[in-house]
């Protein structure tokens, strides 16, 4: 923190009452400082807590950082402040020349010994272990979290600690990892394999026999088949008899009640949580289960169920470890031609109150369902005048009407009275599409917009059915112009692609605990040609109830299921799931690749002594990522000898290799390792966030790596392993971790955690795009393109983007999107979750993008109790103004607030504010620290591009260097950093060039000697 404090505190200098022996005092410099600085930073006042008379003229001594800050402040013109006396050009030159020379000398002396041994952080540990053993487990969840460095990075040797808890975890994980990687090849596993086919009354003989669990559908609606595992695997014989004492919260009569049969092993069910305005449609079809887009897309909601709606299979018997494979047969169902008003209303421009010529009007005043005559008696009048019992039957109306022009229509309802809303109104359009909508009486509005629908020219049919007590005057159909946003959104919704996504977890007696696995897959084929979608999961990574004792019929079941991940259009296209197949444990081959990579081919494979030594040597050379010493191999071989006494060959090898995985040679990154091995490791943990591959190690072995750095960097950045670097660096540099701490307010909005996930993915994709095409850093500030998928595009109100994958979309500034400053991930992470937060956004921008972190508030700040009683009701902008007017706060806040205020036209989640109230309430107009007036984020972007691009580039370079080196930068690194900045500027701030220059700099290369 100290560095941060100093950078901003600033400025300086000196008159000295104490001179360090041997340091001569440059009188001319002293004079300048006395003339311009001492007033604010001397014995009378010491702004920023800095007493220049207490600084030493030994520039490389205790006040090195202060001197360095002085130079920065003078160079950037921040000091002296605008209203104070300014240095003449000659004086400025004199001061900066002297300081620059002094600091250079110090820098050359200092740049040694600030590099410290660093252990693998959680991500590096996971990647390395997985690369090494050909596994894909999220080991990091089993380790304590890593500390952040002052710069915000979690790969800093100084801040990464090793504790006994770490070691204990390493020992456990190593054993678990080897258990997964190594098998007994002569003993292929037993495989559990089954298939569930869905369909309404697919097994008519079971109709009415027994309901499934909970609110699920009956056993006649799905078919269970046990499938045979293919050779060489053995078939798992599934137990089919179980005893329990409890069923949910009920205790069963008679001890140890027995449940027998396949229907108690596997149970199909749906998960549909009814939301306020949502009504479940008829989801069980004759040929499968219908899944409209998920409308509560979160695992973290209060009700604790997997995303709704979904279809799932509960498994009483399931594998206890390893991978499994899920095959889902499904097809796409087009989006309905009806959509509730609420879905497009965000984009609706006006709400006409009276009918205009051309509107289609269906009179409904005869459509009165019921009239209360006595307390419990209703008189029901149908259109034909007949009466019926309101408790049993719905009231119905059936309209046939002519339409002149095909097109999108909005349907408004004029009503006289709504007495009760026990059930919603159901609309059926042309006997095909249906939609149910709840209505509520509103004294002020007797005309309610209900829905949008597509009507074809000619005869159309609308059926309305309800049990609600409602008195309707008429329905009015208003044609919507095809150029309106709501019309465009309607069509975007029709064109959207549904995505199928699996999840797995635990079914508790009332709740579920689940996580997704694998990437969502597009469902494109229609009913005529259903496709099979394959997903792979890992028991270890999912909240599956492994090894649990259980006395409750309903609890601790494994649950697998799928839902429709296209969450942006709530009434978008659906998916019909026909069957789900499960196979586990699943192996890619037998013995698996992970096993074969350890038990290498060898002529000595029959001689245990020789073979074990070969295996161990081969393994630790990779594991320790260097040329292993004889003593290191010997110690492991001795360990194996011991182990072999009590275990079989495979097990003893397993134990030995697990031991190697707990040794510091594996756990630490040996940057300074012998020869070029250190460099290979350093490079690989920078650009891959994982271990060096064979090619890098071979080059290192031949001492050819240094000579081939450029082509190697290029190769590494093209390799998909570089994604881990880009994601990890981006996440830490831009502080995306803050997003996970933003609470999702209970009744806030429907997107939930999935929006967070995809918002972060957008930012990753953007930076990947920059690296892929070696684009300029200026794109970070402003770009002519964005990387979007259909969910994010809809969230931003951008048309014509389909698919779950993030694609490059070029559109200029039309939607006020471009550059990471407009990313929801950034704007949301720096909000309060409910409101935008100019201070958070300002601090973020200053520290991450400009690398000018404001100092933390000073110690002992008293609570500011505003004197103005109206303060509490002011907008944040006005509150900030009051705050800034306080002289104690102004120095820092004038450097924070303006940045944040320029984002004010983006709300908490990062959506652009468009409503008239918002436009009145919020404004991005502000004055930047250097006096420039701006009115929008676009102005800020222009200003940065024109005047501060070098700062942005320097910020990226400094942050990335700190990440690459795994340490904090110090003053001593300044010259090397400046060289990279200069080079980058000449090259147009291209991002790959920056990465390359960091590696080629003395900082990176010379430290491993």
């Amino acid at each position: 923190m100290k560095k941060n404090v100093l950078i901003l505190l600033i400025v300086v200098l000196i008159f000295m009452s104490h001179l360090t022996a041997g340091v001569t005092e440059p009188t001319d410099i002293k004079d300048i400082l006395e003339k311009y600085c001492i007033d604010c930073h001397g014995p009378d006042k010491s702004k920023g807590k800095l007493r220049v008379d207490e600084l030493s003229f030994d520039v490389g001594g205790k006040d090195l950082q202060h001197w360095s800050d002085v130079l920065d402040q003078i160079n950037t013109g921040e000091m002296p402040p605008p209203k104070k006396k300014q240095l003449s050009d000659e004086e400025r030159r004199q001061l900066t020349d002297w300081l620059t020379t002094e600091l250079k000398l110090v820098s050359l002396k200092k740049r040694k010994n600030n590099v410290v041994l660093r252990r693998l952080n959680r991500e590096q540990y996971r990647n390395t272990l997985n690369d090494l053993l050909s596994l894909d487990v999220n080991w990091e969840n089993k380790l304590p979290s890593d500390s952040k460095s002052p710069e915000g990075f979690i790969n800093n040797g100084q801040t990464l600690l090793a504790t006994s808890l770490h070691l204990d975890s390493y020992i456990k994980i190593a054993k678990q990892a080897l258990d997964l990687a190594v098998v007994d090849p002569n003993n292929p596993p037993q495989i559990q394999k089954f298939k569930i086919t869905f369909g309404k009354n697919i097994l008519p003989e079971l109709k009415g026999k027994r309901k499934g669990l909970g609110k699920g559908f009956g056993v006649n609606n799905y078919k269970i088949e046990e499938l045979t595992a293919s050779a060489p695997y053995k078939n798992y014989i599934c137990p089919k008899s179980f005893t329990y004492n409890k069923f949910g919260s009920k205790i069963l009569k008679g001890k140890n009640r027995e449940f027998k049969g396949i229907n108690h092993v596997y149970q199909a069910n749906h998960g549909v949580v009814l939301m306020q305005k949502e009504v479940r449609r008829d989801d069980l079809k004759s040929d499968g289960f219908f899944l409209p887009p998920v409308h509560k897309p979160s695992f973290h909601n209060i009700i604790r169920l997997a995303p709704s709606p979904h279809v799932n299979v509960k498994m009483r018997v399931f594998p206890q470890s390893g991978r499994f494979k899920m095959r889902v047969k499904a097809y796409k169902k087009e989006a309905p031609n009806l959509v509730p008003y609420s879905e497009l209303s965000y984009h609706a421009l006006k709400k006409p109150k009276t009918n205009v010529p051309g509107d289609i009007i269906l009179l409904g005043n005869s459509f009165v369902r019921g009239k209360k005559v006595t307390k419990n008696k209703y008189l029901v009048t149908e259109m034909d005048g007949s009466n019926r019992d309101p408790d049993k039957d719905s009231a119905e109306a059936d309209y046939v009407f002519n339409v002149k022009n095909s097109g999108l229509y909005r349907v408004d309802m004029n009503y006289l009275n709504i007495i009760s809303t026990r059930t919603p109104l159901t609309f059926v359009l042309n006997k095909k599409d249906d939609m149910s909508i709840s209505v509520k009486h509103n004294k002020k509005m007797t005309r309610l917009p209900m829905m949008y629908c597509w009507l074809n020219k000619g005869e159309n049919n609308l059926k309305i059915r309800t049990k609600a007590e409602i008195q309707i005057e008429s329905f009015v159909f208003i044609q919507i112009d095809s150029e309106t946003v709501e019309s465009k959104v309607y069509f975007a919704r029709k064109k959207a692609t549904p995505y199928i996504r699996p999840f797995a977890g635990t079914q508790e007696s009332r709740t579920q605990k689940a996580s997704t696995f694998g990437e969502p897959q597009a469902v494109l084929n229609s009913k005529e040609k259903p496709s099979i979608y394959e997903f792979y999961g890992r028991i270890e990574d999912l909240p599956v109830p492994v090894g649990k004792k259980n006395d409750n019929y309903e609890a601790n079941l494994m649950i697998i299921g799928v839902y429709n991940h296209q969450w942006a259009h709530m009434h978008g296209p659906g998916i019909v799931v026909q069957s789900i197949e499960f196979e586990g444990p699943y192996y890619d081959s037998w013995p698996p690749l992970s096993h074969k990579k350890i038990f290498i081919e060898s002529p000595n494979s029959r001689d245990e002594q020789k073979y074990s030594r070969e295996i161990i040597t081969h393994f630790v050379n990779k594991t320790y990522r260097k040329s292993v010493s004889q003593e290191e191999v010997d110690s492991l071989c001795r360990y194996w000898q011991e182990s072999r006494k009590t275990s079989n060959f495979y097990k003893s090898i397993k134990e030995t290799l697990a031991g190697a995985l707990c040794c510091p040679q594996f756990l630490y990154i040996d940057d300074k390792g012998a020869g070029e091995y250190g460099l290979a490791n350093k490079l690989s943990y920078f650009l891959w966030n994982s271990m060096p591959d064979k090619e890098l190690l071979e080059l290192a072995q031949k001492n050819l790596l240094k000579k081939n750095l450029k082509p190697q960097i290029k190769r590494m950045l093209q390799d998909s392993r570089s994604h881990s670097f880009i994601e990890s660096f981006t996440y830490q540099w831009l502080e995306l971790d803050k997003l996970s701490l933003i609470p999702i307010v209970k009744d806030g909005f429907a997107y939930g955690e999935f929006l967070k996930e995809e918002a972060i993915e957008e930012t990753y994709s953007f930076i990947k795009e920059l690296v892929k095409n070696n684009l300029s850093v200026s794109n970070v500030i402003k770009s002519e393109f964005a990387l979007l998928n259909q969910n994010m595009a809809v969230f931003y109100g951008i048309e014509n983007v389909t698919g779950h994958e993030f694609k490059k979309v070029g559109f200029g500034w039309k939607y006020q999107r471009g550059g990471i400053l407009t990313h929801s991930s950034i704007l949301w992470a720096n909000s309060s979750g409910v409101e935008s937060h100019p201070i958070k956004r300002g601090v973020w921008f200053a520290s991450r993008i400009l690398d000018r972190p404001p100092p933390p508030p000073p110690a002992n700040v008293p609570m500011i109790e505003p004197t103005d009683p109206k303060f509490k009701n002011l907008t944040i902008r006005k509150q900030l103004e009051v705050h800034r007017d306080n002289s104690a706060c102004i120095d820092c806040h004038r450097k924070i607030d303006p940045w944040g205020l320029s984002f004010e036209m983006y709300d908490a989640l990062g959506q652009v504010r468009t409503s008239i109230q918002d436009l009145r309430k919020y404004s991005a107009a502000t004055t930047l620290p250097d006096g420039t007036d701006i009115n929008s984020l676009n102005d800020l972007q222009g200003y940065i591009e024109e005047k501060r691009l070098d700062d942005v580039s320097r910020s990226l370079i400094r942050h990335m260097s700190s990440y690459a080196l795994g340490r904090s930068l110090t003053f001593a690194d300044k010259i090397e950093i400046q060289k990279i900045v200069d080079y980058s500027k000449k090259d147009g701030h291209k991002i790959c060039t920056i990465i390359e220059q960091i590696v080629l700099s003395k900082l990176f290369i010379e430290e491993n000697s």
């Binding site: 500390s147 006994s164 070691l167 290191e632 300074k672 701490l741 309060s832």
Partner: protein, 443 residues
């Protein structure tokens, strides 16, 4: 961290001392008569201040000020402390204390210093041993586990925003645990397996530890001076792990007291059910005290500066923001909201105290043999003085309760720790920068 001939030390210790020393303690432990002499301590901390409306605010008049209006025996529980009303005679409310170092530094650093009193203002500062660990080192030979260190986030956090309250004898942060299920399994279920299996597992672990130390020695030889210093941390962790293994082996023959954990919701997740989460963690501490597997515990209920999950929990549970957001809130109702948050946090601690008071031990309850401190690192969010502190239990150790003591002239919080340690019969004279004791607490 003098670990130069560490490798040999370890061997010598193993052969010479280990097993023979263990037995007398075990015998002592098996003896029920000793329960009345058991002394425990437990520390809870919250960050970012509490509701302290100025006297002219309506919220003050409405009783939402954390500190009571009257001092001494006649105090009335203010609303934020209402959950403690039933425990009046078991607790003392303390005002005025703070760490002199904390008063000088940026307030959000004060959690780092809460149980140590360190000056954390320098970027690369080194912490001191925390008060709970001083007690833990003293008790360690008598308990199965040295101490419990809990938080909502787990790990150690980052320097300046630590995620743990405890620091070992080198001043290194001790990683906190936050997953009830793992904690339960580590502490209690290992005993379900047969003794033979456990014995084998421990000896296997010991072998791995030997292998690691052998290879660590090879590695250490190659390191330069700077790296060697860093690597000491690894060696020290290894030695601590080895002690744990050894301790487990020593305790192999002693069964954990019978216990019933049916009511503990070990599967709970903080972000799903914050209240259940807090209570489950507290249930685990109570269970650990009841079964005497450890005698010291710390639990950071929330991290400073809203950098942890803790600040989101009240939002999920009650729909009100966390304490950091509240400290920056300027709306009219904020002291009511803040007071409600304080009340909620108080309710967890009160739940814990009541639970301890219901567990019989000797003549009294577990609470009578446990001193529990609950406090906030600052008074208002950016003001690390006048720490709100509540002290409960420990009747058998001589603590006198039923009062609100407001102390003048900023007495050193470390003085309180001296008093606590002395009553725990830990032989200390001072604690870090302490300059006295708080004798008013003692009967």
């Amino acid at each position: 961290m003098a670990q130069k001939s560490w490798h040999f030390d370890r061997r010598t210790f193993l052969k010479g001392v280990g097993v023979s020393v263990a037995l007398p303690f075990l015998e002592a432990m098996g003896n029920d008569k000793t329960t009345s002499q058991i002394k425990r301590c437990c520390f809870f901390a919250i960050p970012n201040g509490v509701s302290l409306p100025p006297k002219n605010e309506v919220a003050y008049k409405d009783g939402w000020h954390w500190f009571p209006k009257n001092t001494g025996k006649n105090f009335a529980f203010p609303k934020p402390l209402e959950p403690f009303s039933d425990l009046r005679e078991q607790l003392t409310i303390l005002g005025g204390l703070s760490h002199p170092n904390s008063r000088k530094m940026h307030s959000h650093l004060s959690m780092d210093a809460f149980l140590t009193g360190v000056d954390a203002s320098a970027q690369s500062y080194k912490n001191l041993t925390s008060v709970d660990q001083i007690a833990a080192y003293h008790f360690e030979k008598e308990t199965r586990y040295r101490s419990l260190v809990f938080s909502c986030d787990g790990g150690v956090g980052s320097s300046g925003r630590r995620g743990t309250l405890s620091y070992d004898r080198n001043g290194s942060p001790i990683p906190s645990l936050n997953n009830p299920k793992e904690i339960f399994e580590n502490l209690f279920t290992s005993t379900e397996k047969s003794k033979d299996i456990r014995k084998k597992a421990f000896s296997q672990k010991q072998k791995v530890v030997d292998l690691i130390s052998e290879n660590a020695a090879y590695m250490n030889r190659r390191l330069g001076k700077v790296d060697k210093e860093k690597f000491d941390e690894f060696l020290s962790a290894l030695s601590s792990l080895e002690n744990d293994v050894k301790r487990s082996q020593q305790w192999l023959d002693t069964a954990i007291k019978d216990f019933n954990a049916d009511d503990i919701k070990i599967d709970v997740q903080a972000k799903h059910a914050p209240q259940d989460y807090y209570r489950t963690m507290l249930d685990l501490i109570a269970l650990a005290f009841e079964t005497d597997v450890t005698r010291t515990c710390t639990f950071m209920l929330n991290k400073e500066n809203a950098v942890g999950i803790g600040d989101t929990l009240s939002q999920i549970a009650l729909g009100i923001p966390g304490s950091h957001a509240l400290s920056h809130d300027k709306t009219e109702k904020r002291y009511y909201t803040w007071g409600k948050l304080d009340q909620w946090m108080s309710s967890h601690v009160a739940y814990f105290l009541k639970k301890l008071s219901k567990i019989q031990e000797g003549e009294g309850s577990v609470l009578d043999n446990s001193i529990v401190m609950y406090g906030c690192t600052t008074s208002t969010s950016h003001n690390p003085s006048n720490n709100p502190i509540l002290l409960a239990g420990g009747k058998n150790m001589g603590f006198k309760h039923g009062r609100y003591l407001q102390m003048e002239n900023d007495p050193n919080l470390s003085n309180l720790y001296v008093t606590l340690l002395k009553q725990l019969k830990v032989p200390v004279k001072t604690f870090n920068d302490s300059d006295g004791e708080i004798l008013e607490l003692i009967a």
